[in-house]
Amino acid sequence: MGLSRRTIVHLVLLAAALAVPLSNDIYYTRFATQIAIYGMAAMSCDLLLGYGGMVTFGQAAFFGVGAYATGMLTLAGFHDALIVWPLAMLAAMGFALVIGALSIRAQGFQFIMVTLAFGQMTYYIAQALRDYGGDNGFTMPRRNTFAGVTLANHVLFYYVTLALLVIVLFLCSRLVRSEFGMVIRGRRDNERRLAAIGIPPYRYKLALFVIAGAVAGLGGALMANHARFVSPALLSFQVSGQFLAMVILGSAGTLIGPVFGAAIYLVFQQVLSDYTDHWMIFFGPLLVARVMFVKEGVWGMILAALRAHEPTPAPLPAEEGAAE
């Protein structure tokens, strides 16, 4: 039995990702690392948005908490990633649990407002951490070590990041097809119906929010290591907006799409900012135009192109289509 076209595309992408350091220019490796990190954070938004139907404008809070926890633990003398990163994720999950519990009863517009507000709150908390540089942030003297090996080498760090991205991607893809995933998608489609068949929606909504917080927190831990610098800017609502933009650019509800979206976003940002300091004056309208005129994200377009050339197998109980 041959491989499906989609699997082939996945393998090609993986091969391309693995090959980046071969370019011998450390700049590309570092850039790819940043894409992978933001892709992971954007993926956490996609869990909430594409599968959960929850538009959150506060995901940067958990990304930032992961980064701060990592930085703070490292400064306190903990260097082993196998200890620090899970703890950073736990910190992010803790924040997600509290903020989630307060937010999830809100629907639609209210949910966006509340997540935006709580995101801003964590930003103010970070700014108030005088011992950690306040508004200026702080540097991490060294990267963490992974199983005893220092991650100072950019190529090694990139492969570790990439491996984690692939693992998270795999775990999330199992999640969205599992019983839990069906409850989440059912709630997105019709929360009233879900309750009517006997599934209480809020506990699953909260669980998803916490899981997404964990993924974002891991992204934050990697970010702290990547830049060796942690500041409140990581928690700003602009960063939350960036994550959402990456999801939509890549296609919501696809998990891989957001990683594509991160690549597109960061490449555009880089190209435009090489051209002018005032790149946002072009980027803003580009984002507006993308929202207004382009219906589909990049990965969705790729999937559609693949399907057009392949006899469709029997549809599955819940199609993972692009759901924006």
Binding site: R177, E179, G198, P315
Partner: protein
Amino acid sequence: MSEAVLEIRGVSKSFGALRACDDISLEVRRGEVHALIGPNGAGKTTLIGQITGELAPDQGSIHFEGRDITPLATAARARLGLARSFQITSIFRSFTAQGNVALAVQATEPHSFRFWHDVRRIGRLQNPARRRLEEIGLAARAGTVAAGMAHGEHRQLELAMALATEPTMLLLDEPMAGLGSEESQAMLALLGRLKGQYSILLIEHDMDVVFSLADRVSVLVQGRVIASGAAEAIRNDPQVRVAYLGEDDDAEG
């Protein structure tokens, strides 16, 4: 003497100055089909909302299988065995027909905090779902995404989902709504098969359907139950006829 599965005791609900439900008392006995009829605006929707838990009564209480369910949330009531179908079709549009029913089967489990196994390969969910679809007559559409199905098929799917949760009681909200004559016949036959197996509270406008299925009928007008009793007696009750004056009693929902 068959006991009451569902008891509504003195339920009242107002929205500002509007008294939508006024001291309503009603019971559904085990195994019976109890129809609730009344003109539009009579308060049926508000009453259903209070039975399912989406609205809280201002006064009164609701009892199911002898238990006071008034403080319980919608999902908790469903888990006790109270299933419903919606007047305006309410399904999971991005799921296939089988996926819809499989999720209803899944709902009977204690919880859904399972994160690893692909639902499509879980036999204990998919097999009963498939069987329900066959019973309802939708087996051919098992793999079709719900959004792409016809309205009549949606109504059937609603029913399949309600049945898949293994309820003791069905609350059917205008199951005939929007169906063509052939589809109505099929639905009527289906409901006839369900009669006796489940206790049913049936809200319907179609009088032919009501009187061919119902054991007892209650009439709701302007928030009050004006008559309640055996179907034939209600049919001939002059008070009921007056209440329907100006209403086309052949109207479908």
